[in-house]
Every structure is written in structure tokens, then in C-alpha cells.
């Protein structure tokens, strides 16, 4: 259940492009044709799925406060989290390089379709953003981190696929000259983002505040009847009622 919720939340509610504008540079630059957009989208899913769990491991066992405790008790107080930017980006850059080499060796056809996009991805904000959000949201298990990476990748893929399809069609429309190309893409993305905001109500319990309200209303009826209000509370209610009657 936890997994399913995180999955849908990362795709729709916290969509990388529409809610946080991550990876906008390549989103705008590579969305002129659907076929190239699919290639880049697939590469993003792939790299996010690999790097988010890896960075989760780094965060848990090296960077967090007290994470080095496996080295010995005297390391328990070390806090290396200021190094996270440099370690995360180094992991991403090396992973991208490694993936490129492995894919080229074992699957030349996949390499031909993904290959040109892989170097682009090392500097895609969505990839680093995924790892940084993973860290700041304190995702608990490796499985959830894997899920988070994969589903945010799918969210990004959906976004670039949709805008590429729209841009292919919009070529036949009469857009005001100064808005052509970049301008209209911005405005369409804005409108799509407004549409995606409506997914915000899809999953309850997104924020902590909401969750507390949920818990209260979900309480079973027989349990509620068992909880008798204290005398003080009863008196307060009575005085309030009296006051309103007066």
C-alpha cells in the first residue's frame, strides 16, 4: 500500500516537471519530436531508477549524521551531509558513464536509441533533483527509494511525451509570431501544470496536517463512544451552551 501510494504520488501529484520544474532544459530542447522525446524519457527513467537507490545507500551509510557507525563506535558523531552535493553528482556522472559503456557493449540497438541522450542526462536537473528530494524527504527503505526513482522517472516521461505530441500538432496552428516556438511551449506547459494540480486531491494524507485530520475522522464508532469526555470538558460545553442560550 505504501509502495502504491508513493508510486502514484510521484507520477501525478509530485510530478517532476509540473510541480517542481525539474529537467526543464532538456524538456524544452528535446521535445520537438515524439520519437526523440520517447528516447530521452526512457533514458531518464533508467538513470533515475539506478541512481536514486545508489544515492540512498550513500546517504544512509556514509553521509547522514551517525551513518558511519558501522566503522566503529568512535565515528558515531560524524556528520558528512555537507558533502552530499558533491558525492551525489559524482555518483550520477560515473553511473551515466558506466551505463553508457555497459549498454554499448551488450545491447548495441538500445545504445543506438538511448546513446546520444545519455551524456545529456548527467546534467539533467531531474536526476540530481530526484536524489536531493529523496534525501530531504527522508525515504525510509531501499525498496521505497527504488520505487521513488522509477516512478518519478515515469512522471517525467509522461510529461515530455505529452508536450512533444502537442508540439507536433501545434505546428499546424496559427500561433502569434512572437510566441512561436519557445513562448507557446511555456504557456502550454503552464496550462498542463494547472491541469496536473487537480491530481493533488487524488491521494489523501499527503501532508502531515491532513493525516492528523484523517485519523480523527476514521476512528471507529464503537471506539468513539467508549471515549467519555472528561468532566471539565463537559462543564465547558454546558457553560458555552448556557451562554449562547442567554
Amino acid at each position: 500500500m505504501e509502495h502504491l501510494e508513493l508510486f502514484f504520488k510521484s507520477i501525478f501529484v509530485d510530478n517532476m516537471v509540473f510541480a517542481y520544474f525539474l529537467g526543464m532544459c532538456s524538456y524544452l530542447a528535446v521535445s520537438k519530436k515524439v520519437s526523440t522525446a520517447v528516447g530521452l524519457g526512457a533514458a531518464v527513467i533508467f538513470v533515475l531508477t539506478v541512481t536514486v537507490p545508489l544515492n540512498w545507500l550513500l546517504d544512509q551509510y556514509i553521509l547522514q549524521r551517525g551513518a558511519l557507525v558501522w566503522l566503529g563506535a568512535e565515528y558515531a558523531d560524524y556528520d558528512l551531509s555537507f558533502l552530499s552535493f558533491i558525492l551525489f553528482i559524482a555518483t550520477i556522472a560515473t553511473m551515466v558513464q558506466l551505463v553508457e559503456i555497459v549498454v554499448e557493449k551488450f545491447s548495441p540497438s538500445l545504445y543506438n536509441s538511448l546513446g546520444i541522450f545519455l551524456p545529456l542526462i548527467a546534467v539533467n536537473c531531474a536526476i540530481l533533483g530526484g536524489s536531493l528530494f529523496m534525501q530531504s524527504r527522508e525515504i525510509e527503505t531501499l525498496g521505497l527509494a527504488l520505487n521513488y526513482g522509477f516512478s518519478s522517472g515515469i512522471g517525467w516521461f509522461l510529461a515530455i511525451l505529452a508536450i512533444a505530441a502537442i508540439r507536433e500538432k501545434i505546428r499546424y496552428s496559427n500561433v502569434p509570431a512572437p510566441l512561436r516556438g519557445l513562448g507557446i511551449t511555456f504557456i502550454i506547459t503552464g496550462l498542463m501544470a494547472i491541469g496536473f494540480m487537480s491530481f493533488g486531491g487524488m491521494l489523501t494524507g499527503g501532508d502531515d496536517a491532513n493525516q492528523e485530520v484523517e485519523v480523527v475522522s476514521v476512528m471507529p464508532v464503537n471506539e468513539m463512544s467508549n471515549t467519555e469526555p472528561s468532566e471539565e470538558a463537559l462543564q465547558e460545553i454546558q457553560t458555552e451552551v448556557n451562554e449562547t442560550i442567554e
Binding site: 532544459c25 552535493f85 536526476i127 512572437p178 516556438g181 513562448g183
Partner: protein, 215 residues
């Protein structure tokens, strides 16, 4: 312009309008949009990028002859990441609230395409002083757009600038609000950043017809 030759001042002033990194080169949009709901974070972000891009360009330009071209991307990323860590720590020390508000977006300066773009296109082939000017110029061009967007979103969205109530008090109905003016709550939401940038592009391109894209 006694200090700068004509060529050098072109480096600084070109990116401000006709070669703006955001509206013309389409670089560095990620961070530009997410933090512009208010003016103050926009200005802090602009200053951070000016620092990182200016210094980074100098460092890369000094090292340009000793970086092996095969691993230059990783070297560039490490240089940026180091500078960004400095910015992050300074912000955490002197403006903690603001650094919480900017959250991951300070870290995302690392993958800001403007920075890698300028390293690749300029700093790898030019001397330190010119690279510095180019870096500052491009970061200023980026900052100007950020500040314009932040200005309009805060003014129209919450009726304030830097947190000061410029248009009067919306609760007590003073100033403009006495005439029935209402804040446009929509401007605070993320999608409006995209639309405001779209409008800036529209205005800029209808003033300068040469920038209009061919279909």
C-alpha cells in the same frame, strides 16, 4: 566604461537582453521557476548564481589547459559542486530561514544548464578575466528574469514586495483594497511562473522581431 574595453562590455551587457540565457538560449529554467513566488528568494538565487558562475568560469578557465577533454564533464561538475557547497553553507550560517525555503534548489544550481553551457562554450577557450566577465554577464541576465518574475508574482499574488505591504492591508481593507482590489491567489501557484516567463518572451520578441523563431 574606462575599465572595460568595448569587446569586454559586450560580454557583460549582451546576455542582459538580446542574448538572454533564459528567454533566448533556453538554459537554466529549472531553478528559475520554482523559487520565484517571492522577490527575496529570487534575489538570493540570482546572487548565488552570479557567484557560482563567475568564480566557476575563472577556475575552469585557469585549468583549461590541464583538463583532459575526455573527463572534462566530471571535472566541471566537481568544480561547480564545490562552489555550490560554499554557497549552501554560507546561506545556512547567515540566512537559515531562507535556505530552508530554497531547500533543494540551491543544490540544483549544480545542474543549472547555464553553468555547464558557459563552461563548455566560453571558459574552456578564453582567459580568466574575459571568462569572469562572461560568467557575471550571463548570471546577471538570468538574475534579471528571475527578479522580474519574482516581482510580478509577489506583487500581484500577495500584494507585497520583500514582505512589505505595498498595496495596503488586505485584511483591514486599506489602500488599494479599499477600492475593491483583490489579490490574485493564482500568481503564487507554480504554474503561473511558466506563464509569466511565456509572457516575458512574448513581449521581448514582439519588440525585437529578429528573435522570432522560424517554424
Amino acid at each position: 566604461m574606462g575599465l572595460l574595453s568595448k569587446k569586454d562590455s559586450k560580454l557583460i551587457f549582451d546576455p542582459l537582453a538580446d542574448n538572454n540565457p533564459i528567454t533566448i538560449q533556453v538554459l537554466g529554467i529549472c531553478s528559475a521557476l520554482a523559487i520565484t513566488a517571492q522577490l527575496k528568494p529570487s534575489i538570493v538565487m540570482a546572487l548565488s548564481v552570479i557567484f557560482v558562475l563567475g568564480m566557476g568560469n575563472v577556475v575552469i578557465s585557469l585549468m583549461r589547459n590541464i583538463i583532459p577533454s575526455k573527463i572534462r564533464i566530471i571535472v566541471q561538475l566537481i568544480v561547480v559542486a564545490t562552489l555550490v557547497i560554499i554557497v549552501d553553507l554560507v546561506l545556512k550560517a547567515f540566512a537559515y530561514e531562507l535556505s530552508k525555503e530554497l531547500s533543494v534548489f540551491i543544490g540544483l544550481i549544480i545542474t543549472n544548464c547555464i553553468i555547464m553551457g558557459r563552461f563548455e562554450a566560453f571558459a574552456l577557450g578564453n582567459g580568466p578575466w574575459r571568462s569572469f566577465l562572461d560568467g557575471v554577464g550571463n548570471a546577471l541576465g538570468y538574475g534579471i528574469i528571475l527578479i522580474i518574475v519574482g516581482f510580478f508574482r509577489e506583487l500581484l499574488g500577495s500584494g507585497t514586495l520583500f514582505g512589505f505591504k505595498v498595496l495596503g492591508d488586505s485584511v483591514e481593507k486599506t489602500g488599494l483594497y479599499a477600492l475593491g482590489y483583490e489579490n490574485n491567489g493564482f500568481m503564487v501557484l507554480p504554474p503561473m511562473a511558466l506563464i509569466v516567463v511565456g509572457i516575458i518572451i512574448w513581449v521581448q520578441r514582439s519588440r525585437n522581431k529578429e528573435l522570432i523563431e522560424e517554424l
